[in-house]
């Protein structure tokens, strides 16, 4: 294949040309600071307002409930730390899961060092959070339940509505890290009883360095980034107008194409999964069979190691990942794969392929052939494999 086959859309996505187009004027011409008095900059304020409206609309939220941040990670930090601070009178207990992104897990660990207590609820072998465990974990001091909408590694979609209902019944705030789900799955914050929701631009063909936190009206959360009066005094820092405009455009496109995109991705994904499972021995699919993101496939190939697999795929022009991108500098096996019960050495041999509607069926077929070849080659080199 001449063309690079990019199958790492969960790590990041290319910015769509229409999005770049929408952003461009805001770099060089309409560059003004939207907080300024002069008309020239006031136009930028309306561009920000329009993006906020598009995003709010996509969630069934009000524009005043959307606060722009620098990305999903900041949104997660903000939601969790400032809920902890604002509601510390009520209690010091937080419930989350073992398979959250590090942006949530490390934030919770930080809070644990500062007097908070955190319960990390288990998931089943498909990566679905155990609702009975979650319910049992609730204490009178529980102030927050934080469960990701969809997992970034194995793609499992959580029963968010049920969790929202549990939270609501118990008078506990509910945060969801929807970085992987927003723009890929239909979300309604009211239907799902979501109080706080994190999302990020670069996962939906928008720019990097922009995200938002949805904060339900009435919540007492304060700022996490202190300073100027931007974002209604809740998130300081000169507004990143081009990125906000680009994010708005990306959301508009993602919403408009969602159904069609999902349909195409599902077809490709299911073909890929069924053929890999049928044609490669000693392989398992990680994550839920049905309740999974339409673009996610995650396999564990026994007896081989992920990085070698990735480099060999790269040599064949296929970009993929093993574990999450931001931990690929790390040597530990993925905490998500361990949480669904994989032993270390099998977790090591995992491969995540996250598609887009830009991929063709021919490319998927090529990928299947290459995976078979490479797995075979690596196994022949493995001291663990005796055939």
């Amino acid at each position: 294949m001449d063309r690079k086959i990019y199958l790492d859309n969960a790590a990041t996505t290319p910015v769509k040309p229409e999005v770049v187009e929408a952003m461009l004027p805001y770099f060089t011409e309409r560059f003004g600071n939207p907080s300024s008095v002069y008309e020239f900059a006031a136009q930028n304020k309306s561009a920000v307002t329009a993006a906020r409206e598009t995003i709010a609309h996509a969630l069934g939220a009000e524009p005043a409930e959307i606060y722009f941040t620098a990305g999903g990670t900041e949104s997660d930090n903000w939601a969790i730390k400032e809920t902890a601070e604002a509601y510390s009178q009520k209690g010091n207990h937080i419930i989350t899961t073992k398979i959250e992104h590090h942006a949530v897990l490390h934030t919770c660990e930080y809070l644990e060092k500062h007097g908070y207590e955190v319960t990390y609820v288990n998931v089943d072998e498909n990566g679905v959070v155990k609702l009975d465990e979650l319910k049992k974990a609730i204490r009178p001091t529980t102030i927050l339940i934080s469960v990701m909408f969809a997992n970034n590694e194995i793609g499992t979609i959580q029963p968010i509505k049920e969790i929202g209902e549990i939270a609501k019944e118990n008078g506990i705030l509910f945060h969801t890290d929807a970085v992987q789900a927003f723009g890929h799955v239909k979300i309604d914050v009211n239907e799902y009883h979501i109080d706080l929701l994190s999302a990020s631009g670069h996962k939906i063909n928008g720019p990097k360095g922009i995200g938002f936190l949805y904060i339900r009206k009435g919540l007492k959360l304060r700022s996490y980034i202190h300073g100027g009066a931007q974002e209604r005094s809740r998130r300081a820092g000169t507004e990143n107008v081009p990125a906000i405009v680009g994010f708005g455009k990306a959301v508009e496109l993602a919403v408009a194409t969602m159904d069609e995109r999902m349909k195409k991705e599902l077809e490709l994904r299911d073909y890929l999964i069924s053929h890999i499972l049928a044609e490669v021995p000693y392989v398992r699919l990680n994550g839920h069979q049905k309740e999974r993101l339409s673009n996610n496939a995650n396999f564990s190939f026994q007896f081989i190691e992920g990085e070698s697999l990735l480099i060999m795929l790269d040599m064949e022009n296929i970009c993929a990942s093993s574990g999450s991108a931001c931990t690929s500098g790390s040597l530990d096996p993925s905490h998500v794969l361990l949480a669904i019960g994989l032993p270390h050495e099998i977790a090591h041999g995992s491969l995540r392929l996250t598609l887009s509607d830009d991929i063709t069926m021919d490319e998927i077929k090529y990928v299947i052939v290459k995976i078979k070849e490479i797995v075979e080659k690596l196994r022949s080199m493995s001291p663990l494999y005796e055939d």
Partner: protein, 145 residues
Amino acid sequence: MYTEKVMDHFKNPRNVGEIENASGVGTVGNAKCGDIMRIYLDIDENEIIQDVKFKTFGCGAAVATSSMATELVKGKTVQEALAVTNKAVMEALDGLPPVKVHCSLLAEEAIHAALWDYAEKNGIKIDGLEKPKNDISEHEEEEEY
């Protein structure tokens, strides 16, 4: 992230395989990353390494260092092989990224383990060779800020 030499040895690893009835076999695992390497040595009566093969379950650097390490010890005496350090292997590969230094230790240790096995089987003692650990794990560096 890897040098051309590393990529070359990764793409075309030298001496992959097994040696039946090898003079010495050593298997080591890296407690840090969970990876495993096995080295087979064929040593003649003059203590010269006639042949060497490896199998590796590990990252790109692990494969490349296995390959390079086997190249470096092939045809050498046992004492010369013992002197092949992970540093020598890394240099021969034009370096490794810092997080991958430990992978080269795997190669050094696997050779030592295979030599130990050879010595035990033959009831000899090799000067300067210590009993290998099953799992190696380098001294944890302080996280550098």
